[in-house]
């Protein structure tokens, strides 16, 4: 029999039991809606977080050295192994626009506005850092100069002191041995938001020269050089990131001072923003998959509903099946009729589910204040799932309908 005719007959049968069909469809609709809602919510969350992390980032990568079996993630306590010589060599790598070292300067406290506060760490770096790494921009003043007793603070750090500190103020840096060095505030960085929308922590930046005093004998020159725990390498543009990443890794593994300075069990990590984004994406994917998995359960329940109703329907229509067979319906015709009917229920259910799910996702994203990112491919997946659910749920009932003995069926009351 022509599938179009089957479709027409099936729609007739479905409309013959309106309430029952609506309730059956509702089961699938809720299942699909739950899946769509959670997937959309996951995708929206991911788009939001990744947008925050990767938005307007320069093409940079972070170089660090840590234990080989360390968990992936943002570098933790990296060992200071990258020498000035290494920085020089890295700057010479093709397509590298800048190499920005970062180190920690352990101190006891800061003094400003007539008060001394306990504060245990400065970040030593170069002026390029404000161009590539801490890119929120200056709300006042500008970068410090190398070889100058100047500091740059971010707004949360400026607010640590009574009456705030501003450009031109003097800040006293209390070293760990109690001695005090005065420095002038050269600039205040605008408040930046962390990747998860939280406010940034207070940060005080100083030039590596003269503040950074962590030195080791460099194997390349056999004289003491500054060594840094993390180095940011900036590529000339995004298309070069991957090659630069490879070249940097090669240099570190084969030629660098850091190679001999690092403990044997440690490894160099050259992590791009993309890598970080991938990690976050992976994390959120796992979360979304978990929640979607829960939603799939309701979809399974919905398809069992279809199977159940189809079985009832086959029993109820035993006599009709007998009539159809008596007037020449082949087993395959009967099979087709019932499968089409189940598929129609499944597809209608999943279409309704897409609409319901989109509404649900909209409500949910509004509630948690996210921009909604609707994964369009999931609408297609939902329709395919609707068809599969229909076939899976309809196949046994349809088979048992096809097998019905017409003599028995015609006698059935």
């Amino acid at each position: 029999m022509n599938p179009v005719e089957s479709f027409r007959m099936s729609v007739r049968a479905i409309r013959g039991h309106r309430l029952r069909s609506v309730l059956t469809t509702l089961g699938v609709a809720i299942g699909v809606a739950a899946v769509i809602t959670f997937v959309t919510l996951g995708a929206s969350l991911q788009a939001d977080v990744i947008g925050e992390v990767s938005g307007d980032q320069p093409p940079l990568m972070t170089v660090s050295a840590g234990p080989a079996d360390d968990q992936p993630g943002p570098p933790g306590e990296s060992q200071a192994v990258f020498t000035d010589h290494d920085l020089e060599q890295l700057r010479a790598v093709e397509d590298v626009a800048a190499v920005v070292p970062q180190g920690r300067v352990p101190i006891s406290g800061l003094a400003a506005g007539g008060r001394t506060l306990g504060y245990n760490r400065l970040t030593a770096t170069t002026p390029e850092s404000f161009e590539y790494v801490a890119t929120s921009g200056f709300s006042d003043g500008t970068t410090f100069e190398q070889d100058a007793r100047e500091v740059v603070v971010n707004e949360p750090a400026a607010r640590l002191f009574p009456g705030n500190v501003s450009v031109g103020d003097t800040v006293g840096v209390v070293r760990q041995n109690g001695s005090r060095v005065n420095a002038t505030v050269a600039g205040v960085l605008a408040a930046d938001q962390g990747p998860f929308g939280n406010e940034a922590l207070p940060q005080v930046y100083v030039p590596t020269d003269p503040f950074y005093e962590t030195r080791l004998d460099a194997p390349s020159s056999e004289s003491p050089q500054r060594v840094y725990p993390t180095v940011t390498v900036v590529a000339s543009d995004f298309s070069a990131v991957e090659t630069v990443q490879g070249d940097v890794q090669t240099y570190l593994d084969e030629d660098s001072d850091a190679r001999t300075l690092k403990p044997k069990s440690y490894e160099f990590r050259v992590q791009t923003v993309e890598d970080l984004v991938d990690q976050i994406r992976g994390l959120l994917d796992t979360f979304t998959a978990f929640v979607t998995g829960v939603a799939v359960i309701s979809l399974v329940v919905g398809s069992i509903g279809i199977a159940n109703i189809m079985l009832v329907s086959v029993t109820e229509r035993t006599r009709e099946i007998g009539i159809m067979k008596a007037v020449g319906a082949q087993n395959s015709d009967v099979l087709q009729l019932f499968i089409v009917e189940a598929v129609v229920l499944g597809v209608v259910g999943s279409l309704a589910g897409i609409v319901l799910g989109a509404l649900g996702a909209y409500a949910a994203t509004q509630y948690v204040d996210l921009a909604m990112t609707f994964p369009v491919e999931w609408a297609g997946i939902a329709v395919v799932v609707g068809i599969l659910v229909g076939v899976a749920a309809g196949i046994y009932p349809a088979w048992s309908a096809a097998r019905t003995d017409p003599i028995e069926a015609l006698r059935y009351e």
Partner: protein
């Protein structure tokens, strides 16, 4: 040979069922010929094997032994699929309880056997309309069975039986659920169809219904007890149409 070949031949047919491990002999050695254009009635009390005979002639079942030949095809040799096809094309069923599809209109019910033979929809609709006209229900084509009287439903069923121009019109107690006047109208319709050249087999337990046929085959305990020629078949005179409820 097709012109002279009988519509149905039963040759030494035996049908045995297993019922709770016990063999039940529904038919034992039945032989019967229904020439084309004949009008035959099968009579017998319940348990005589009428239903079994009807199922065999209607290609719903196959004999345990012997041959059932419908429209020159030996039913016992056919695959289930081929048997279904011959059932749809060579046999037109008319049941006591009408057996119409409740959600289809009269015209769609009539078109149903053609649907399963892959007749295009335009042709189906045309023929369904013609057939309903022929049974006097032209203006009721769009009504569903529950909007029709018993007599009208049986007319729809008869129109459906004629859909694929079958070699045999097979009626099982066609008036059993109708009042006597409506029943008479239906029997009149069968007489008309017979007069128009159709082969008719009516299965009944009522003598006055059987007497419409040219010949009555009496079944008893699964055997042909006797065959009786009806000297003067009841043929309603002065046909009246449209009087049924």
């Amino acid at each position: 040979m097709s012109d002279v070949a009988p519509a149905v031949v039963l040759d030494g047919v035996r049908k045995t069922y297993e019922l709770g491990g016990q063999p039940v002999h529904a038919l034992r050695d039945v032989s019967l010929r229904l020439p084309r254009g004949s009008y035959t009635a099968v009579m017998g009390p319940s348990g005589s094997g009428k239903s079994t005979l009807m199922n065999l002639v209607g290609c719903l079942d196959t004999p345990t032994a012997g041959r059932v030949v419908v429209d020159s095809e030996n039913v016992g040799d056919l695959s289930e699929e081929a048997r279904t096809t011959i059932r749809g094309t060579a046999v037109g069923f008319v049941f006591q309880t009408f057996n119409l599809m409740p959600r289809l209109t009269a015209a769609e019910n009539v078109a149903l056997p053609m649907l399963f033979q892959g007749v295009p929809s335009r042709q189906r609709e045309q023929r369904a309309t013609d057939l309903l006209d022929r049974v006097g229900l032209g203006e009721r084509a769009d009504h569903r069975p529950n909007e029709l009287s018993g007599g009208q439903r049986q007319r729809v069923a008869i129109a459906r039986a004629l859909a694929n121009d079958p070699a045999l019109l097979l009626a099982d107690e066609p008036t059993g659920n109708l009042d006597s006047e409506t029943g008479r109208d239906i029997m009149e319709l069968f007489a008309d169809l017979h007069a128009a050249g159709n082969t008719v087999l009516v299965v009944t337990h009522e003598r006055h219904i059987a007497e419409h046929a040219d010949r009555i085959v009496h079944l008893l305990d699964g055997e042909v007890e006797r065959e009786e020629r009806v000297a003067d078949p009841r043929r309603p005179t002065a046909p009246q149409r449209g009087g049924d409820r």
